[in-house]
Structure formats: structure tokens, C-alpha cells
């Protein structure tokens, strides 16, 4: 066939041009393909199988020391361990990387006997020296590393750093031998050693931290820049190892640590898929793409159960309160007015109609499982008549309050802010208060205003980090000029001082006595806010997931979890 010549010169050149173009395209494509070799490894499968869990957000980073968000801890908790841990299913401390510990009578010197034969994921030894290097690393942060948004838990629990600008609870660490680490404190603290169970104070490989410059955080522009270590090389001793983070597909993969010192993880692979939308998480579970997710909507629990899923409700470890700011409204500096608020709110009904299953009325500022809980605090049953009477006695029958409540948010302790506001506002009006509602988006002015003490009363709460009273009431009332502004009352400074004294009491029995006394006073003489409820967050898994032990600290570990075939 000779069609091209007969088609004439013009057409021929055009065809040739097209052929050349096509050729170039093919060469370009193949060369691109050549440099884009498949790097696929045979993943997944194997004995033990894979579990995919729906996470609510992207972790900030993978170095827990610089983190304070639950999604980071959810991941690092599987990779890293602390000197102490928490008993499965409770908030009680138990040995983890330290087998035992003892402290001097003044509570300032703590000697930890370390577990032997433990190795970090990079193959280096876990020993006394590694423990001290970890403490030294946390203590000697500089620059951006000292910022509250990064080393929040250190500042909150240990105070200052090596530069000595602010006093620190931590003083020094020495390792007399490989199996021992001695931590010296500047004073006794009720929080020690419980705080060492916090994910932030996990033991990380000093070698890996050096290699990937773990301390190299910098404030740059409007934010912080993290080092390589925090982004891709977290190295601990835990039952899972960090494998990869695929940002564009929103997945974090962990692989079983075959050299784990304890009972090895049952799963071969643990995957966290980031699914910010709660409804989407539910649908993904329904379609079988994920095996579980956290914080299911309280309204979905029944449907999830009916579909055969396993819905577990944790023990409550949080508190929601009706906050009172004493700064702006002089009426609120009067105890009788604050007590009237407490009598006015119907907490029984609130818990029944606005809170998820397992929720309970709060009689004081932390749940029963925390030390120093007092059974015999003053009670405030729902009693509008009594509230009115108290207001009359105070000589202020017509109190007007700016009631702040947040929109665009749900917190584990506050599932439905609007519903809660409506119920409480109705109760308060019934008792004779005039309510002036102020609603703002959580990140759109609410937190700002409440923290800057602009409200009269407001809705807020707290989820505990570990099992000590100081973590609750110390955080709330340890600073008299914060959102409660207790400085406006004569007892504000005194309360802060009492909290400090109790925290520094090394004798446990004595300390608990002090906290009990304080809880009684908080509910009778002080009443700086009205405790409302404890509401336990739930976690849901598909029927193929077995052995997930929930934790009141929402600190679930997946090492004990197994999956059956689909």
C-alpha cells in the first residue's frame, strides 16, 4: 500500500508531524514510567491481620513530648511507653518500663528499677542512661521548645526548664547502673510518679532523637516547624513500630514490633485512617472500610449496637461545669447568689435528657475514682424556691447574667452545647434570674472571651490526664486570675495556696485528707463554679474486633486486640 505519497506532500508532512509528536509523547511517557518504578512491598495480610481504626483528625506530629492533642497520643501510645503505665481499664498507675520504684521520705528522690533486656525500635538499649537522657532532653528545651503550645504537659506538670527562669519540679537524673535511674525533684508532688504515665513523657530512643534532631523545633512565621524526628522517625519501645504516614491519603501505618519485650501484639498491622467528619466515620464502619472509631455520636449508639457493632462506654473521667466569672458582675461575688445558681439548675433532668448513657450528676469537681473525693459534700438538689429565697436574702432578687455558650463544637464532656444551654437557661429563668445569652463559635471568640474573663457564667469542662486531684481542681483554681477570677473573692488566693500545699504533701493519707477538706469547702464556702455532670465517651468497634480494653483516660492500647476474618 502506498497511500501516503498519493495523498500529496502537504498532507504527508502533517501526518509525519503527527507521528513524530506521538513518538515523542510515547518516549516521554515511558521515560517517566521508567523513573516511576513501582515500590510496592507485600504489605498487610500475614497472621494477625490488619485493623483499620477511624481517627478524628490528623496527628500534629509523632513526638509526643511536643504534643497535647489526643490524635497524636492515640498513635504514639502504641509506639512508645513510659516508666509507669496505667492498669488496663483504669486510671491506676502500674509498672511499665520501670519494674518498681521507691521514694525518699521527703518525696524528692525517686529511684526506678528498670526492666532489663528492653530495646528501642532502632535496636539501641533502654537503660538508666537512656532514661536520664530523656529527662535531660525535656528539661533543657530552649526557644520555641519552651512554648506552651509545644511542651504543654511539661510546663503544666514540671514547670520551668534548665534556664531557671521559672522554678521546675525536676532537678536532676542520674543512672548509677544500667538497671537504675534516680530522678531528683526540687519538692514533693502528688502528681509524681503518675505524670510519668502521660504519653508526653514516654521514653524515646536517644540515638534516634540525636540522629533526626528531635529538639530542632522552631517558631517560624505564624507557626512552628518540626524536625524530621517528629514527622517521620518516632522511636520508642512499644509493641508497634512506626511504618509510614501517607498524608495525601490520610493514613498512618504501624507494624508489629517483633522484638517487643512483653507479649507481642496480635495484629500484624495497625492502620489509622484520618476521617474528620463524624458521620463519615459511621458510614465507613457500616460499609466495612474501617473496624472501629472513637466518640460515636450519642444518638447513634443504639443503631450501631443494633447493627451488631460493639459499643463500649468508658468510665467517666471528665467534668462539665457551669463556670462563674467573678470579675464583672458584683452579684456573683456573693456566695448566696452562686448557691442560688446551684439550686436553680436541674442536673438530674439535664443528665437524663441531654447526656449520653452512663453519664452522672457531678457533686464536686472530679469523678469518684480520683483520690480525695469527698462523699459528704454539700448537696444542691433542684430547688427553684430555695434559689429565689437565697437571692432575696442576698438582697438581689433581679440578677441579670451574660450566659456564654459555644457553637461549632462538641467535647467529650459536652456533647450538645446548645441543648445544654437551653435546659440550663430555662432552669435559671424559673428561679428568677434574667439570662442574656451570648453564643460564639468555639474557635471563633468563645474560648477567647471566656479565658479573658468576659463572661458572667459559661459552659466548659475538662477531661483528666491522670488520676490526681491536682489535675482537676489544681488546673481550675490554682491561678486566681483566670476564667473564674476567684481573686475577686477574699478566699481566692487562699484556695490557690491550699492547692499548692496539698500538691506538695508527700504523705498520701494526709494529702487525701487535705483534698477532701478542700472539696467540702469548694462545695459549701467557695462554690467558684457549679459542677454539672460526668459523661463517659464511647468507642465503637465492628463485630470482628476482639479484646479491646477501654480506658477512662481514653488511652486504649491495641496490642491486645485481634481481628477475625471478614
Amino acid at each position: 500500500m502506498s497511500r501516503a505519497p498519493s495523498a500529496g506532500p502537504r498532507r504527508g508532512s502533517s501526518t509525519r508531524r503527527r507521528v513524530v509528536t506521538a513518538g515523542v509523547a510515547i518516549v516521554a511517557a515511558t521515560s517517566l514510567a521508567a523513573c516511576a518504578q513501582s515500590q510496592r512491598e507485600a504489605g498487610g495480610g500475614g497472621e494477625g491481620g490488619t485493623l483499620t481504626f477511624g481517627a478524628a483528625g490528623a496527628p500534629d506530629l509523632f513526638d509526643p513530648f511536643y504534643a497535647s492533642d489526643g490524635e497524636t497520643f492515640r498513635v504514639t501510645r502504641q509506639i512508645m511507653e513510659g516508666l509507669v503505665g496505667f492498669k488496663p481499664g483504669s486510671s491506676d498507675v502500674q509498672p511499665e518500663l520501670a519494674e518498681s520504684w521507691e521514694h525518699s521520705p521527703d518525696g524528692k528522690t525517686w529511684t526506678f528499677k528498670l526492666r532489663q533486656g528492653v530495646k528501642f525500635h532502632d535496636g539501641t538499649d533502654f537503660n538508666g542512661e537512656a532514661v536520664c537522657k530523656n529527662f535531660q532532653r525535656m528539661f533543657s528545651q530552649t526557644g520555641a521548645g519552651q512554648n506552651n503550645a509545644l511542651s504543654y504537659y511539661w510546663i503544666e506538670n514540671f514547670g520551668g526548664f534548665a534556664d531557671g527562669k521559672t522554678p521546675s519540679l525536676y532537678q536532676a537524673c542520674d543512672a548509677p547502673d544500667a538497671a537504675t535511674a534516680v530522678v531528683h525533684l526540687t519538692r514533693a508532688s502528688s502528681k509524681f510518679p503518675d505524670i510519668l504515665g502521660l504519653p508526653s513523657f514516654s521514653m524515646q530512643s536517644p540515638t534516634a532523637m540525636d540522629q533526626y534532631q528531635a529538639n530542632n523545633v522552631q517558631a517560624q512565621g505564624d507557626s512552628f516547624v518540626y524536625p524530621e524526628y517528629a514527622k517521620a522517625h518516632p522511636t520508642g519501645t512499644g509493641p508497634f513500630k512506626f511504618a509510614s504516614y501517607d498524608e495525601s491519603n490520610g493514613t498512618i501505618k504501624l507494624a508489629r514490633n517483633e522484638e517487643y519485650w512483653g507479649e507481642k501484639a496480635k495484629l500484624n498491622e495497625l492502620i489509622f485512617r484520618i476521617i474528620p467528619d463524624e458521620t463519615v466515620r459511621k458510614q465507613e464502619l457500616e460499609s466495612g472500610a474501617i473496624d472501629g472509631y472513637d466518640y460515636p455520636n450519642a444518638a447513634d449508639l443504639k443503631a450501631l449496637r443494633d447493627a451488631g457493632n460493639n459499643v463500649q462506654v468508658r468510665d467517666p473521667f471528665n467534668i462539665m461545669y457551669l463556670g462563674i466569672t467573678q470579675k464583672n458582675n458584683p452579684a456573683l461575688q456573693n456566695l448566696k447568689v452562686r448557691q442560688a445558681l446551684a439550686y436553680a439548675v436541674d442536673r438530674e433532668t439535664l443528665v437524663k435528657s441531654n447526656m449520653p448513657e452512663g453519664a452522672s450528676v457531678a457533686t464536686q469537681f472530679y469523678p469518684k475514682t480520683v483520690d480525695g473525693y469527698a462523699e459528704d459534700v454539700q448537696q444542691y438538689p433542684h430547688d427553684p424556691a430555695k434559689a429565689k429565697q437565697l437571692l432575696a436574702e442576698a438582697g438581689m432578687p433581679n440578677v441579670t447574667l451574660n450566659f456564654y455558650w459555644p457553637t461549632e463544637v462538641t467535647r467529650p464532656y459536652m456533647p450538645d452545647p446548645q441543648g445544654i444551654y437551653n435546659a440550663l437557661a430555662e432552669d435559671l429563668r424559673e428561679a428568677g434570674f434574667t439570662i442574656n445569652p451570648v453564643s460564639k463559635p468555639w474557635n471563633g471568640g468563645y474560648i477567647d472571651d471566656v479565658d479573658n474573663a468576659k463572661a458572667d457564667i459559661f459552659l466548659l469542662g475538662w477531661t483528666g490526664d491522670y488520676n490526681t486531684p491536682d489535675n482537676f481542681i489544681g488546673t481550675f483554681f490554682g491561678t486566681p486570675t483566670n476564667r473564674f477570677y476567684t481573686a475577686a473573692s477574699p478566699w481566692g488566693e487562699e484556695l490557690a495556696a491550699q492547692l499548692k500545699a496539698a500538691d506538695g504533701e508527700p504523705d498520701e493519707a494526709k494529702r487525701n485528707q487535705m483534698y477532701q477538706d478542700m472539696n467540702r469547702k469548694l462545695m459549701s464556702e467557695y462554690l467558684p463554679a457549679v459542677p454539672l455532670s460526668h459523661s463517659p465517651p464511647a468507642i465503637v468497634t465492628s463485630p470482628r474486633v476482639h479484646g479491646l480494653q477501654t480506658s477512662p483516660l481514653t488511652a486504649e492500647e491495641f496490642a491486645s486486640v485481634s481481628v477475625s476474618e471478614k
Binding site: A36, A149, E247, E284, A289, W462, T481
Partner: protein, 336 residues
Amino acid sequence: MLRFTIRRLAQLALVVVVLSMLLFAWLRMLPGGPVSALLGDRATPEARARLEADLGLDQPIFVQYWRFLGRAITGDFGTSTGVQRGSPALEVFLTRFPATLELSILALLLAVVVGIPLGYLAARKRGSWLDNVSITWSLIGVAVPVFFLAFLLKFVFAIQLGALPASGRQDVGLNATRVTGFYILDGLLTREFDAAWNSFVHLILPAIALSTIPFAVIFRITRAAVLDVMDEDYVRTARAKGLTGMVIRRRHILHNAMLPVVTTIGLQTGALLAGAVLTERVFNIAGVGQAVAIGFQRKDFPVLQVVILASAMVYVLVNLIVDLSYALIDPRLRTR
């Protein structure tokens, strides 16, 4: 032509600078901010002050803007505070942009491939059942909110029938190799064809959901344009001249009706970017739209700035291309 292009590119630069100023000021005027987003219910007055100082948020706004400009010139657009904390904002955008582009291209393709022929047919058979059904369909397309349609599609095809994936970009277990970030392209390049197919399957429902509004608009404009042109004198003349119906339809009607349609397609890219915010949320696609949603929630100024500026640039560029393509469609415009 060249001068026209240069002039338009200069306009683009101006648009970006003015928009960056407005955006910068506007974001910072919104209540709340990165500080409360970062500290949340754990904030104390001291911690807030410290953080504001470290992030430079205590400076006057024009000082902040000047600093931003200085860094932006060197390619540093700041670091994400909320979407992907600690990653450069530009990197956050570049990691996520392929997902959005993939989705948008597919959605637009769907809208064009269905919308134009249907619009043309509806116009030719004006008043027929086809015309009426398509008009109703396009009305529903505009009227039904994207998220509702997305939920509906998902409920039926992903959850009830299990035929298509409910969300995400690719099955996790595939361990696919990443090259460009465009998953379908990556799968083809690395010959991991199952991965390419898997990504495509993941895109079907979101692309349908996202395409409804552009489809409806393109359909309607095509129909109206074709109806207009059909009544033009030159079509009557052509017919009188004895040209065949085929030639008239292709050369005189379709060709001339394309001008408003192409303009519309350009304008619809803006709608696609806006629609991506909802679609990506419902289908959990880690794209630019999701970054905007999370960025607003957590007041991630650097990421919002990059994403919104880049989207504006894409929008302007697409419309520039549309304007240039007029010349191809209408030779009279070439001489101007």
C-alpha cells in the same frame, strides 16, 4: 495575542496582591484565632500571651503583612498551624491539590460530556419529552444541595449495595507507590493498574456529586445558545443555500453556540473549587477543599492564605485559557 496574554497575566499579578491584602486582613479580623485553636480549653492567659508573642500575632497587622510578603517572595508562605501542623503551608497545598484537581477534572469532564450533547439535543427537540426530562433533571441538579446528593449516592451505592467505596482516595491495603500525587496517573506510570483502577472507582461517586451543578448550568446554557443560533439569519440563509442539515448543524449552529458554553465552563471551575469543600468533606478526600474546612475551623491562617490565593490564581488562569480559546472558535476575535 501575545500582548493580550501579557496584559492578562499582569492583571493576574495585581489580583493576587490585592486579594492577599484583603485576605490577610479579613482572616485576622475573624473572631478567635490560631491561639485559641491551639490551646482550646487548656488555655491560660499567660500561655496565650506567650504563644501570641512567639507567633508574632501581637504585632500590628501591617507589620505582620509586611513580614508575610517578605517571606512569600522567597517562597515561604508560613507553616500550617492546624491542618497539618508544622508542615509548610505551600507543601500542605501541593500535597492536597492533586486530589482536588483529579476530582474536579473528572467532574467537569462528566458535566461537559453529558451536558453539551444533552443541551444540544434538547434544543433541537424543543418541547419533546427529552427536552422536558432534561430540564427537570438539570433543575434538580441545581436545587439539591451537594451534600445531600452525596449522602444519598453514598447510602445507596456504598452502604446498601456495597458496589462503590464510601470514602477516601484509595484502599489502604494496596500499598501503592506515589509519584505525582495524582493517584490514577501514578498507577498508570508505575504499571500498578489495580491501584489506578481502585482510585478511579473511589472517584466515581464524588465526581457525580460534584458534577451536578456544572452539568445543569452547562446543559442550560448550551440549550439556550443553540436555540438562539437556530433562529439566526445566517442559519436560515445557509438552509436556503441548500446546505445539508449535517453541515448546518456542525458548522453554523454548534460552532457558534459554543462561545457562551466555553465561557460558562471557565466560570464553573470556580464553582467546582467551592463544591469541593463539601464533596471532599462527605467523601473524606484529603484535598484542598478539606484543608479549607479544617483551616477555618482551626484558624490556620497560612494554609488558608495559600489555598485561597492559589485557587484564585487557578480561576483566573482557567478563564484566561477560555478567553484565548475564543480565538480558536471565533476567527474574528483573532485580529483584535
